[in-house]
Symmetry: C2
DNA sequence: CCCGACATATATCAGACCGATACAAACTGG
DNA sequence: CCAGTTTGTATCGGTCTGATATATGTCGGG
């Protein structure tokens, strides 16, 4: 799913500038399910113009800098639907937080707890941002399906983190127990599995 | 979080070949929280050798091709813990499935349903793969925390998809209603928000 | 007994992408 | 009036992905 397709998708709903497209993926309706950066969006929009999949006009605004508003063309819509026909790749998650946390044994307990708390705060922010933005607007059913999927996942993550935070507090003792178990294993098997 | 750090993390637990590291991220204990491809792993391992953060020896196996087994060095451990000290980026999700589904209005209903069913099957596979691999091994507490986080998220996704699949069946009718609402809005406001 | 399919294993590379950075216009508050 | 924030466009080095190539070995079927 390349940046061109993502931009076309954003333009399917309504015309938008590069900056506005970016906001759809950062805090907007796509924020829970996909991400794309400026460094991909602006070159992609240029390509869309080249292929005549979108048109562009400059809009003057008062109180703000001018913006370049892109609109999808019929050819663009066709190309987009064509791109959707490919079999989608499986979901991909990237959580630096959890990766780091999984090495909590090697970190000071204070660091681990601070990390979890920052993690929780982060999900709280994102959840409230989503709710604020969309709860009043009327969404078509498929959009609502996807929207609520994102909310559900965020809420689940939050609940898990809150209820299991304490387990990381019990870190030190449990780790000693674990080491003890390993030692017994080594004594019994000679270290071979 | 670059590929070098991810490889060091993999080697923290035990020595491994590039192929084995990859499997940790595809189906293994990291599969629910991060991903990294061969194209990043092999060059990263070469860099680790250059920096003396890992050593390497060739292991002959019977019934299989030889493999190059990498072990982390004390300097490597130090470098890894150093890399963990950076403030982690927020979680990033990439779901082509949900992106496509959110444009279900523009697709034949059969395609949408097929998509959801494939999506469900995909999560079922990943969930059972995780369970099979790890439910018997004894994990230290932080690992169990992360491991169960992944399982919880998968289960939540599955339950959501199963219980809300029917909503997409009601697609056509609801979309007509939605279009009707939009038309009324246009008549009232002239299309301006 | 060979053939294709599959798992194991390493490696490379063009093309795409990210994150940082730069620039600029306009508002906002101290 | 100046620093900071928001809105807005753009570029670029370094990194990563996904595809591809190559090779060894197993296994089951015709």
């Amino acid at each position: 799913m390349d940046a061109k397709t993502l931009c076309l998708g954003a333009l399917m709903h309504s015309e938008a500038s590069g900056y506005e497209i970016r906001k759809l993926f950062e805090g907007g309706p796509f924020s829970a399910i996909y991400d794309v950066s400026f460094g991909s969006i602006y070159p992609a929009l240029t390509v869309l113009l080249d292929r005549e999949w979108a048109t562009c006009c400059v809009a003057e605004q008062d109180g703000r800098p001018d913006k370049k508003v892109y609109s999808i063309t019929p050819a663009g819509r066709a190309a987009f639907l064509d791109a959707l026909a490919t079999t989608p790749a499986p979901d991909k998650m990237r959580s630096e937080m959890l990766f780091i946390l999984s090495f909590g044994d090697h970190l000071p307990r204070s660091v681990v707890l601070e990390l979890v708390d920052r993690y929780i705060a982060n999900y709280e922010d994102r959840l409230s941002a989503i709710d604020d933005r969309c709860n009043d607007s009327v969404l078509p059913p498929v959009r609502r399906f996807v929207h609520n999927f994102g909310i559900t996942m965020y809420e689940t993550a939050l609940e898990y983190l809150r209820t299991h935070r304490a387990e990381l507090l019990a870190n030190e003792l449990s780790t000693r127990e674990h080491v003890h178990q390993l030692e017994e294993q080594v004594l019994t098997t000679g270290g071979r599995q």
